[in-house]
């Protein structure tokens, strides 16, 4: 069986489990909305959000809810030792990584589809100004975040205090994603939008994705060895 086909099967399995329980989708989504709400109290004064707050809050919500989803997705595999079964399956390790990543990307995309209109509504952010560019920024940023996150969440399954170690490791390493995402989105949302800057940030995100997903594919097999 080809790597890609195995990966698709693993992603399908994850999404099927998720579709039946909807645990991750509901909790992550609600958590993201709660994040937006908490941040709105910090960045809204006299009924108006400060400049650039919408872009920042959007990405913080994505990062926080993404961490939650990553942790839970692998906790589920740990509870009944199914991760070991998955690793023992006659599929390449890279297929396991890609399948998990694909499942998480679908989940995070679902959360973002809800979160973006909420931000537009609450902060009067012009989300319709350059929808494709915004979608590309979110897509590339999410791929970078989840690409690193899937590797780290997978390897932390066997570690102690994994719940707190995941954000501790993940946030410093995804700093470029957050900077590029926030600045790129901010350039679109600004009163005088600068689409060239947004495209420049997008290209940096794509470059980050290429390097770090490759690196994660490369390190996944040695890291998951017992």
């Amino acid at each position: 069986m080809s790597t890609l086909r195995s990966a698709l099967l693993i992603a399908r399995k994850d999404l099927l489990v998720e579709a039946r329980s909807r645990e991750l989708a509901y909790t992550t989504l609600f958590f993201a909305v709660a994040c937006v709400l908490v941040f709105s109290f910090a960045f809204v004064s006299e009924g108006k959000a400060i400049d650039g707050a919408a872009a920042g809050i959007l990405w913080v919500a994505v990062a926080f809810s993404g961490t939650l989803a990553l942790g839970r997705a692998f906790e589920r595999e740990r509870q009944s030792e199914t991760l070991r079964a998955l690793l023992l399956a006659p599929a390449e390790r890279t297929a396991v990584y890609l399948g998990k990543l694909a499942g998480l990307l679908v989940l995070m995309a679902a959360v973002e589809i809800v979160i973006v209109p909420v931000i537009g509504l609450l902060f009067a952010a012009p989300i319709g100004r350059a929808p494709w560019l915004l979608a590309a920024l979110l897509g590339a940023g999410t791929l970078g975040f989840a690409g690193v996150g899937t590797l780290f969440a997978a390897m932390l399954v066997r570690a102690h205090s994994r719940d707190v170690l995941l954000p501790v490791l993940l946030y410093p390493i995804t700093v470029p994603v957050i900077i590029a995402g926030v600045r790129g989105t901010g350039a679109i949302f600004a009163a005088e939008p600068n689409f060239d800057a947004a495209v420049a940030w997008l290209s940096m995100l794509v470059f980050f994705d290429a390097v770090f997903v490759t690196l994660a594919l490369w390190t996944f097999a040695p890291v998951m060895e017992e």
């Binding site: 570690a159 205090s161 490791l169 390493i173 700093v175 470029p176 600045r183 040695p222």
Partner: protein
């Protein structure tokens, strides 16, 4: 490694003597025309920053070696270098704001070099946290963090550089007047010797710890 161990006392003595002479050389160096005496911190700040990034680089290479070859020695080097990165990084992060308060009027600026140093420092603190609290097998996981941390340097640099920068850039070093360059080079050399000695001692400690741990494991079986 045995030769390296013999070198340690020599390195330490030479480094100590160099550190003793350094203040006199720094005192003799001319005052910077704009910043005055505040600029003198540069002779310790910049070499510490160089050692931080050297340590990060060593940790990255050693982590990659351990990850793909499972060479125990590489793991000892990686953890020792990571600790030194945190120590020298702390010196940088303390001396930097002391200078910035006088030169820029603020303790901290979200500038490219500052942000990058902070992020790198945080990654190596996270590396040590993982090793400390991750439980058995965490050295392999830490190796992955070391590899990712080192690969990240250019990205943080480019992203923050594009975002904002006010830090004096590296061109300063090439255009340094000779009276300032001499104590600066002296300081770098002293730091480098001290760094090497610490690294060797720490690797030796780590190796002994590993042997001891193995002995305990055998005793329990």
């Amino acid at each position: 490694m045995r030769v390296a161990n013999r070198l340690v006392p020599l390195l330490l003595v030479v480094a100590a003597l160099m550190y003793l002479r350094a203040p006199f050389m720094i005192h003799a160096a001319p005052l910077e025309s704009v910043m005055g005496v505040v600029q003198k911190i540069f002779y310790f700040h910049v070499p510490s920053a160089m050692m931080t990034f050297l340590a990060a680089f060593v940790c990255g290479i050693a982590s990659a070696t351990y990850l793909w070859n499972r060479n125990k020695f590489a793991d000892h080097v990686a953890v020792s270098a990571a600790e030194l990165a945190v120590v020298f990084g702390l010196i940088v992060l303390v001396t930097g704001p002391l200078w910035a308060r006088k030169a820029w009027g603020v303790w901290w600026q979200w500038d490219v070099r500052l942000t990058m140093t902070l992020v790198m420092w945080m990654i190596f603190v996270a590396y040590l946290l993982l090793r400390r609290f991750g439980g058995p097998g965490s050295e392999i996981l830490a190796a992955a963090v070391g590899v990712f941390g080192t690969a990240l340097v250019p990205f943080v640099y480019v992203s923050v550089n594009y975002w904002r920068t006010i830090h004096p850039n590296t061109n300063v070093l090439r255009t340094l007047q000779p009276e300032m360059a001499e104590p600066f080079r002296w300081a770098i050399l002293a730091f480098l010797m001290f760094f090497t000695a610490l690294l060797i001692v720490r690797i030796r400690l780590e190796a002994s710890r590993a042997v001891l741990e193995e002995a305990y494991a055998l005793l329990e079986d």
